[in-house]
């Protein structure tokens, strides 16, 4: 089973990387970009029997840092 985990900074947590990319987009002449936030995609290939709880635990224990990040799990 293919699973895609999207990890991103919680709202309100400053994203200096996103801000720099935002400036770069403006520098390239793209108008109307309101905000840029950068996250991380983790693609997993797991046994069919892997439970939602297991996936959740993987995210909480390692893939995301719950102090600064949220995650969402998408089964493909």
């Amino acid at each position: 089973m293919k699973v895609r985990v999207l990890v991103r900074l919680k709202p309100g947590v400053l994203d200096p990387q996103g801000r720099a990319v935002h400036h770069a987009l403006e520098g390239l002449g793209f108008a109307g970009v309101e905000d840029v936030r950068i996250g991380r995609v983790v693609e997993l290939d797991v046994a069919e029997s892997t439970s939602n709880e297991d996936l959740d635990t993987m995210c909480r224990q390692l893939l995301a840092n719950m102090v600064i990040e949220d995650y969402s799990i998408e089964k493909l």
């Binding site: 947590v13 200096p16 102090v67």
Partner: protein, 225 residues
């Protein structure tokens, strides 16, 4: 067994030798050098240092992989028993990733790697690590990091402030850290994490020996015990 200190090396640590030298120069005893894959700490250990560097190449997040390495389970339980633990730079990142210390260390607000000596204010001189300094004293210690921007939510920051758990603060803004936090202790007071490198400032030839007081105080108390 008498006094025993240990320095833990992860793949990618690069300040482990400096840390070991600082401990030996101050205590007169050579610390044990332990490897991340060791699962057990030797008995009778009374000081553990997590050094700076780029453990596991900063994969996933700085300190994230090291925090889940076999030896850290033992370090977490030793910290729970009250054994002093010092984490510097990447060591601080590892401590936040294990949950031994609150908050997280994010990319510097400037996006730049910062490598220079900075003034720090000793915010709490009543800890095991800072007892050799005066309250409010300014000391000069080098920083060398890309991910030193301390973040915690408002409740955590208020708790750290009100409980006197901020050991060091940058005397001038450095990397975007909330409340200019440079180093914090846990609620028991036996775990210190800090981004600046006291082990790089222990003798005049380093340009500053202001970091020596930290080792003298933390190790001195143990040597006398």
């Amino acid at each position: 067994m008498g006094f025993g200190a240990a320095v833990i090396t992860f793949p990618g640590s690069n300040c482990d030798r400096d840390m070991a030298v600082a401990i030996e120069k101050v205590s007169g005893r050579e610390p044990l050098r332990l490897w991340h894959g060791d699962s057990e700490l030797p008995d009778g250990l009374d000081f553990i240092a997590l050094p700076g560097g780029f453990s596991y190449g900063d994969y996933l997040r700085s300190g994230a992989m090291a925090a889940r390495s076999p030896i850290m389970k033992s370090v977490i339980s030793a910290a729970g028993r009250g054994v002093p633990v010092l984490g510097v730079c990447n060591g601080f990142q590892v401590l936040t990733e294990t949950g031994l210390l609150p908050g997280a260390l994010m990319r510097n607000a400037s996006q730049n790697f910062i490598c220079r000596t900075v003034p720090l204010t000793v915010e709490n001189s009543q800890t095991l690590f800072t007892g050799g300094y005066e309250q409010g004293e300014t000391i000069n210690i080098p920083v060398a990091h890309h991910d030193g921007n301390f973040f915690a939510n408002e409740d955590t920051l208020n708790q750290l402030e009100s409980e006197g758990r901020i050991a060091f603060r940058y005397a001038e803004p450095c990397n975007g850290s909330r409340n200019d936090i440079a180093g914090i202790i846990n609620d028991q007071g036996n775990v210190l994490g800090m981004m600046p490198h006291p082990e790089r400032a222990i003798e005049p030839e380093h340009g500053s020996s202001d970091g020596r007081g930290l080792f003298e105080n933390a190790l001195g108390a143990l040597l006398e015990a």
